[in-house]
């Protein structure tokens, strides 16, 4: 009997287990944002001229936005003003200049990844996952590059892409999220330090799940990664990203940009399991996750599918979107967002229908526990030319306890009379009767909540690659610990 009680107590009191700090020498630029910082970042990365120019344009634009106080304030989240001069914009693990093989990676770094359960070594080959790991701001090592290269697939860090494939970068960078897009995307454009780059050539189906692992390690740094994925005609690729950060008292800024481009008959599947440090039980510390993610279905019959499981971060501000430009193109958004303790999330999607017979599906599952505030914000826009466009939206909220909140802001804008829209929404509470039923069958209160929540999220988990689905379920259970008293 007492074992059961102890287990619950242990679970309830277990802290964020990814919260270790790695002792690795870093190379960082002084705090503050100015033209000098940007030139320094660009120089450190040995970037070509066009890249520096682009960064500087973004920086100047951001300065004007900052001056006119254009930081977005419409989101349903609260946080004290951010001092952008008090952030270090570049922090990289100190390294030998270039890494040729895994043996050259700092062993301490490899141990960190092992702690995270992300073995970079051969094991991943069997799992069929190629990993690119971004530690603080710099991409550390990319596995299986060789195998992919044989098929013409480029999977590398963004910095490498800028150096080795400048024509591709120049062609697609900013073509989905221009540097003028929004305050945080503009900031990212000026100071981004690394990220991932994927190019899948015509007619190639990428045989592996490509995966990037992001981790913020250094204190008082921001992480500004930038990811660009291009699927050429008839190509397809599935990409996964995972994120963690150590426990720190102060808030850390994470402002990433992800751009996806799908040409004719191409497909991109982008899955995220976001578990940045959410802050402690009193709401102290945690990551501000202000991210711009957008995909462009540029070609006919193209398809972009976003799946996200958001359990971490103190604040999440994120709307992975699809611009459905090509005729018959398809956009999908499947989301689970969980807020516990004092976490806040304002997340959702935008589906912009431009092409004929374009279709979009939105399935959003928000879970609020503790004092968490969870907002779904979604826009479906069907423009004049989008004859035969269809959208289906399902938006469900689940409340655990009586101090949390769920909010829904759907925006629907239809300018073509042939469009078909469906919107379903529900809000429910985990019922005492459900809990009692499961516990009467022998499950602990924690397991009962976890089971109900996993059932609630099933529609979304089904969209995740198998091994991620299992991880996501576990993550959800861990994130909910202590939510039932």
């Amino acid at each position: 009997m007492s074992t059961n009680v102890d287990t619950i107590r242990d679970l309830a009191e277990r802290e964020y287990k990814w919260g270790f700090i790695s002792n690795i020498e870093e190379d960082r630029v002084p705090k503050g944002l100015n033209e000098e910082t940007i030139r320094l970042i660009s120089a450190k990365k040995q970037e070509p001229e066009f890249m520096l120019e682009w960064r500087l344009k973004a920086y100047r634009h951001w300065m004007s936005l900052e001056a006119s106080q254009a930081e977005p304030k419409w989101a349903n989240v609260k946080y004290p003003p951010i001092n952008y001069q008090d952030i270090a914009y570049y922090s990289a693990p100190k390294q030998k200049p270039k890494l040729e093989s895994m043996e050259q990676v700092d062993p301490e770094l490899l141990r960190t990844y092992e702690k995270l359960g992300i073995p970079l070594q051969e094991q991943k080959l069997f799992a069929g996952v190629a990993v690119d790991a971004v530690f603080d701001s710099v991409s550390v090592a990319t596995t299986f590059k060789g195998k992919l290269a044989e098929m013409g697939i480029i999977f590398c860090s963004f910095s490498e892409a800028v150096r080795n494939h400048p024509e591709l970068v120049q062609k697609y960078l900013g073509s989905v999220v221009p540097y003028t897009d929004n305050f945080f995307a503009t900031l990212n454009s000026a100071v981004f330090t690394d990220g991932s780059f994927v190019y899948v050539p015509k007619g190639v189906r990428c045989p592996l799940e490509l995966s990037t692992y992001f981790r913020i390690n250094a204190a008082e740094t921001g992480q500004f990664e930038r990811t660009l994925i291009v699927a050429d005609e008839g190509a397809s690729v599935s990409y996964l990203e995972g994120c963690t950060a150590p426990i720190r008292d102060e808030n850390q800024l994470h402002a990433a940009v992800v751009e996806l481009v799908a040409l004719d008959n191409a497909q991109i599947k982008y899955s995220t399991v976001q578990n940045w440090y959410p802050g402690d039980k009193q709401g102290k510390g945690g990551i501000y996750n202000f991210v711009t993610k957008r995909g462009s279905c540029r070609g006919v019959n193209s398809k972009i599918s976003w799946t996200q499981v958001e359990t971490g971060s103190a604040i999440t501000w994120k709307y992975p979107s699809c611009i459905l430009q090509g005729d018959n193109s398809v956009g999908e958004f499947y989301s689970v967002a969980l807020t516990n303790n004092y976490q806040q999330a304002d997340t959702g999607t935008k589906m912009i229908h431009l092409g004929k017979n374009t279709r979009s599906t939105i399935v959003s599952k928000g879970i609020s526990a503790g004092h968490g505030q969870n907002t779904y914000r979604g826009q479906v826009k069907i423009l004049k030319g989008a004859t035969g466009a269809r959208n289906y939206t399902q938006c469900d909220s689940l409340l655990i306890g009586d101090k949390c909140g769920a909010h829904t802001f759907p925006y629907i804008d239809v300018r073509n009379a042939s469009a078909r829209m469906e919107h379903e929404a529900s809000t429910s509470k985990i019922g005492e009767d459900q809990m009692f039923y499961l516990r009467q069958r022998g499950l602990t209160a924690e397991d009962a909540v976890s089971m109900i929540v996993n059932g609630f999220c099933k529609r979304v988990f089904r969209e995740l690659p198998m091994e991620f689905a299992v991880e996501a379920q576990k993550l959800l259970s861990v994130s909910l610990e202590g939510s039932v008293g």
């Binding site: 005492e432 009767d433 009692f436 039923y437 499961l438 009467q440 069958r441 089971m451 059932g455």
Partner: protein, 255 residues
Amino acid sequence: MSLLEIKDLKVRVDNHDILKGINLTVNPGEVHSIMGPNGSGKSTLAQVLARREAYAVTGGEVLFNGKDLLAMKPEEAACEGIFLAFQYPVEIPGIGNAYFLRSALNAVRKYHGQDEMDAMDFLPLFREKLKLLDMDEKLMNRSVNEGFSGGEKKRNEILQMAVLQPRLAILDETDSGLDIDALKIVSKGVNAMRSPDRAMIVVTHYQRLLNEIVPDFVHVLANGRIVKSGGPELALELEEKGYAEIEDTRQPMPA
């Protein structure tokens, strides 16, 4: 030792005294039926024995297998061997029936220090019990009780009971909402589980269930107290005369 000993149990719900001093002893192998009019406290008693926390116990004592049942959480009572077949089984969307039942079985096994059962071992057991209750295999992967008919839900309760093999099964109006064929199937499932080391408490309004599941003892609960106890013939008497008459002839229950 008796399996269940209820001594002067008093329960209050929303400032109303619902149970006003229940005494009942159940030994292994016995089937007890609790009958009584609406609002007499039958379901409350069933829920309290399954440790529903919303019901406040204001007095008395309950020993299950010699242990203080009232100190247990619902999951502890379940793992100790108490099973409640719900009057209104609850839906759990998105969780497959088989997965749920295996999780429950493993929770109980773990509690007793036994190895957990994997899906491969569980499947034959689950199939066998499905057959016993004449249930479609399709129900295996459907969400727990979601979209089940009233009869399917009740059968699903007995299916769970057959898999979990409790020491004390409490059936709370399992016959309500069942047609005569379903009633026979459910009863067959319950009767198959009667054994010298398992006891049952069958809560019902009607005699018809007791034609199928013949109890050893019948107790009449009225106004929060057991007012009459007897053998199966008492159920027939009730069917004939109704509850009103019995309530007047209040007498203490034999020890």
